[in-house]
């Protein structure tokens, strides 16, 4: 590891741990008002959707929005959504989504 790498990994580690630990450290001194508690319920759905949507609809950031039949990320994602909505099983969603994704890649490449 060179100096740049050591500084980068140390910095990233400290920042990430600081974010994860700040509220846990404060513990009893932190109380949330009802609005915050209500808002926190929506955090996982909002954050994960915000990660997934660009990955499906614009897999190449430079290309912009890519709504086309040969976009395997879009087709695989849609397949995963259908499986998850119908069966609510995580493993089936991952397996089905990935099979569809790779099939599509193979068909259109």
């Amino acid at each position: 590891m060179n100096t740049f790498e050591i500084t980068m990994v140390t910095g990233m580690a400290l920042i990430t741990f600081g974010i994860r630990y700040a509220l846990f450290a404060a513990g009893n001194r932190v109380r949330f008002n009802p609005l915050v508690t209500q808002a926190l319920n929506y955090v996982p759905v909002a954050v994960l959707t915000a990660i997934v949507a660009p990955a499906m609809f614009m897999p190449n950031a430079e290309k912009g929005l890519d709504i086309a039949l040969d976009n395997a990320y879009l087709i695989g994602g849609l397949a995963a959504i259908v499986i998850a909505a119908r069966w609510r099983k995580l493993l089936a969603t991952i397996a089905g989504g990935m099979s569809c994704f790779f099939l599509w890649r193979w068909l259109f490449n």
């Binding site: 590891m1 980068m8 994860r20 929506y42 996982p44 759905v45 954050v47 959707t49 997934v52």
Partner: protein
Amino acid sequence: MGGRYLEFQIMSSRLKEALLGARDTIPMLVGALPFGIIFGTLAVSAGLSVSATLAMSAFVFAGSAQFIAISLIASGSGLAVILITTLIVNLRHMLYSASLLPYIRHLPQRWRIPLAFWLTDESYAVVQSYYLQPGISSPHKHWYFLGSCLAMYSNWFACTVIGVVLGHALPGMADWGLDFAMVATFIGIVVPLLRTRPMLAAALAAAAVALLAHSLPYKLGLMLAALCGVIAGVTAERLNRSSCNQIEEGTNEHL
């Protein structure tokens, strides 16, 4: 004798909780598997040394931030940009820790420090739904949390090692599209949560803003989209509640 037996009972119920936590995390491990492997291969091909790649997985332990750091290194970004991006991308963990805080605030710091260090999207999803399940009154739920974390952590590190080795053996692997595993995992977590209209509103708003704001620098679009999603969810919940009250007062024709 009796005390000893009791001690053994407590030990085994803690171990049981930890194993249960690890077991419930198995689907997440499967989803993280290709993600971790592809991280190892990409890091090496981006020019990061093997020791720095392994150190990142061991000490940072944040998949999406690690991926983004790799792409920033490959594009020649400076240290400040990488660190600021890490901060923004990982801010969501503060929201996770806020939501888990009521369940862990009784624990001593020697528990809170490792649980905070190991807090990830996947363990959060598993542990939060365990705490929310009614009718489980174990005093050792934090062992469940720990079990889930240790499973994710060892899996992530092992996958990074495999990725580094494979990256040397098969240089073309980075283009296989294994990163889709993360998309499928997150879809599998989110879609079953969309049972109510406010949740659906939160997801649609977050998706729309994420696409519109995707070109913003430092992944600011992600935070903006998450914020808009939460606001949409809360607003929809309030509108829903007030329209329900109106329906109760009046007729049912709006249903």
